[in-house]
Amino acid sequence: MITAERKPIEEILEYLEPYDRILLVGCNECVTVCAAGGRKEVALLSSALQMARMKSGRTLEVREMTLERQCDPEYVEELVNFIDQAGAVLSMACGCGVQEVARRFKDKPVFPAVNTKFMGASERQGVWAERCQGCGDCLLGLTGGICPIARCSKRLLNGPCGGSTDGKCEISPEVDCAWQLIWERLKALGLEKRYEDIISAKDWRTSRDGGPRKIVREDLAS
């Protein structure tokens, strides 16, 4: 899923300074699962923002809405009846949701309430960790199902570097060395030999380096 984390309330309050009525919009997808911008977080942030405003002697009217998916135009359309009453939209969705709202409502300021972090998996209750960087040309088939691009601090395709110590990365004992994980996994699979195949220089055009990306499915596209 896409993970996110709420921004400091102070930063959000700065964005909202000129407005007395806002639409606070959550999303039922990824940000709900990572407890950053679902219905619950919308209610909490709404409460916090209203109190923060009251403390400074003003009020803030907040309409709370949580959409099924903020990155799909048909759900964003649900805001149409409420958008006029609001001076601005505060979105708790990932950056995709924020931009979709901004695209649909051209004359309405839209602010992000969360920092979109990474594509990750849930390690345990309340802990999420990065797993994929969307490079556009998956090489997990070569690396035992562990991604060196997302999980090696230097994204080395032929690691581990000389800083790997006791299975941990040189940047922190809290970070697993991705290449140690890859090696252990290759061993478990009986594929040790594969380690010595050099993974050649990557074509980053499939990644962000090739510019903003798009997928078109001819059979589905209208």
């Binding site: 400091p8 309330i9 102070e10 619950k40 209610a43 909490l44 409460s47 916090a48 923002l49 209203q50 109190m51 923060a52 009251m54 403390k55 002697g57 003003r58 009020t59």
Partner: protein, 146 residues
């Protein structure tokens, strides 16, 4: 400030604090009448939003009274409650209301005296902190409405 009588909301677990409050009553122990008790099936039932809404509506202090460690009727509801309170504390600090206005208190069903004493202590703590800053706006609104 001497006249300030804080409004305190106490979320009390049915299995401990709520019974302890009952016992305090039957023992004729006095505790401040401004502590509004809300009975909950477990302190773990109290969400961050419950606490935030209490403050938003003008409570000056909130505490969540749950079972002693290891005694939760639902295994670890009291531990979850403590984590949530810690989370709300941070949020209250962030918005300038003050995290010290919310607390977790632990007791067993038989601790009538502890209940009364904590109610007194917490009331005193909040009295020192003064009114919840959002109250000023709430009062204005009320008088404008009246």
């Amino acid at each position: 400030m001497d006249h300030f009588s804080p409004v305190i909301v106490a979320f009390c677990c049915h299995y401990c604090a709520y019974t302890a409050a009952d016992m305090a009553g039957s023992m004729r122990l006095s505790y401040p009448s401004n502590v509004k008790i809300i009975r909950v099936p477990c302190s773990g039932k109290v969400s961050a939003l419950h606490i935030m809404r209490a403050f938003q509506k003008g409570a000056d202090g909130v505490y969540v009274a749950g079972c002693l460690e290891g005694d939760c009727h639902f295994k670890d509801g009291n531990i979850k409650a403590a984590k949530r309170v810690a989370y709300v504390k941070k949020m209250l600090d962030e918005i300038g209301i003050g995290g010290e206005r919310v607390e977790v208190i632990r007791m067993s069903a038989g601790m009538g005296e502890r209940f009364a004493q904590s109610a007194k202590d917490f009331t005193e703590r909040i009295r020192k902190l003064g009114p919840n800053p959002v109250r000023a706006v709430l009062n204005q609104r009320e008088s404008a409405g009246a």
